[in-house]
Amino acid sequence: MKYLDEYRDQRIARALASEITQRTTQPWVLMEICGGQTHTIMRYGLDELLPRGIELVHGPGCPVCVTPLETVDKAIELALRPDVTLVSYGDMLRVPGSSSDLLRAKAQGADVRIAYSPTEAVKIARSNPERKVVFLAIGFETTAPANAMAAWQAKREGLTNFSMLVSHVLVPPAIRALMTSSNNRVQGFIAPGHVCTVVGCREYETLVRDFRIPIVVGGFEPVDILEAVLLLVRQLEAGEARLENQYARSVSYKGNVPAQEIMAEVFEVADQKWRGIGPIPQSGLRLREEYAAYDANRVFELGEFTVDEPAECISAQVLQGLKKPTDCAAFGMRCTPENPLGAPMVSSEGACAAYYHYRRHAIEN
């Protein structure tokens, strides 16, 4: 397939891996932020190609994984109301809340639908005026413009039966929180290419300056990731800390300005809780006051959900790169994709599920 096969080419991948090996003179800990990148690393076994000194740790960039338990519980409660149609991205359906998940709510009769685009939810609202349609609007900066567009369209059309349960997170505040943690081991970041396609590179320059840490904006195919690792290793070995853009075929310095404008029109930055990590100041997006009529929290007067959670799952340490999924005693035993203890085992982009699906043979042998 054009534009994909080139980035999965075995000769290029092997050449990159061998240059990484040549240039690595000491151990380095690198973090890929995005779950899509983790997925590629596991699916293609890229860790097998890297020298021992390079340790890849997996960051918090799986939107499904970091969506707070409270949001999942709220979505389930809304879905179970007889007059509500809940529309969601597919992989949120299996994420465990505190006592159920959306697939089980569906089995109990809830009207839960999968959409590929939030504007499909607007369409459902338009053609079903008797239903209260709620879109579960989650994700990073990547999904924010499309989610914003859905609210904007609904407002422009004056729809009164459409709202969004918003749980949006931002990458740069998470990197900042990781870097200021006393536990931090990460020496270089692969920044998420899709996020930078939308918001550009400026904020990442600030991070490089503030923490003197190399950041490479990286893509999602095997060659992209290996090249990003190589760029990081070159900088680290030379004692440099710069922002580099490996994913230049998609990412520009300024990013996608119209997408940023619609985000700014609909959303404002707010404090946000991350599942498995906790609250991070100014790390999320919420609907602006002008869009209050489309905020499911207000429309349905959901109030505060507080949920107590047991502590066997080590997802917090996994999402911060402090531990590997296989360090968990429950991994593959009490915690599997069919019966997940924590969100990183649910989504195929979650680090635990990626290990379970693709690397189990290496662990068992």
Partner: protein, 355 residues
Amino acid sequence: MSPKSVADINLDLSCPAPIAVKDTILLGHGSGGKLSAELIRDIFLPAFQNPVLAHMDDQGVVSVNGQRLAITTDSFVVKPLFFPGGDIGSLAVHGTVNDLAMGGATPLFLSVAFIIEEGFAMEELRRVVASMRQAATAAGVQIVTGDTKVVEKGKGDGLFINTTGIGVVPEGVDFSADQAQAGDKVLLSGSVGDHGIAILAQREGLEFETQIVSDSAALHGLVSEMLSVTREIRCMRDPTRGGVSSTLNEIAQQSGVGIELQESSLPIHEQVKGACELLGLDPLYVANEGKLIAIVPAEVADVLLETMRRHPLGGEAQIIGTVTKKNPGLVTMRTPLGTTRVVDMLAGDQLPRIC
């Protein structure tokens, strides 16, 4: 901004309690993956246990007066009812004919049961029935008995069809999924994922146009050609729901062997690859309705491959992997980069990813 250190926050870490799986039926129980396997193991097998069922093949083979008969049944709930390359009627004939053929049987007779929702258009029923007749004639099977039930409006989804089939198993033919041995080769009769993607592309709300056509076809002619070359075949399966990965995982588990695939030898059409990339799906989990997987001893693999490629339904056949002693019960795949990964069984329904 001075964020609270993550280390300080570690005290209120989140992790949900496990949720019991066994309280209700979920859609995933019908997906042909792990949940389906659990349902069979925990509910059906203990209730109906007998030596024929214990083989866990797609058909039961019984002996009547010295004649070995294969029996199988399948229900069809596909939506939309009409799709590029077929419809629920032709699918109901092909599906059951194929389940017989995968036991090496020559399909002879079918029964058909219709469960129809009140208000269903008579013209659509006529189209479905005409398509069944055509498919049965082409496959050389007769529909010799049937049943009709009508359910109230809202209690069905238009039309469901069940077909049951009977066929004769020739002498010397004995396929079963517990017979794969280290060193055997894995043959696949053609491209992966066409049916599932053709159906998905038709579904409401996807706004996704493709030229992909379902591969729905009766496979017993191809099987018969293969049997005319050799009867030394360990097992055959058609990778329908759950796709190639679920079928191979079942064989690996039932035979207690590992299976190693070569990713570069998997035949996948560019359009299916593209659709899967866009939709966040893995073609190895997407359903097929006109493909077979055969596990065969290495010494007959090449001659069988040539035979398959000469048949109209096997033109794109490939040897896609090898049965190994290593990793018993697991399916692994050599990637084009020379690394190895697990090809897991599907846990529930395959869900599209957010990004």
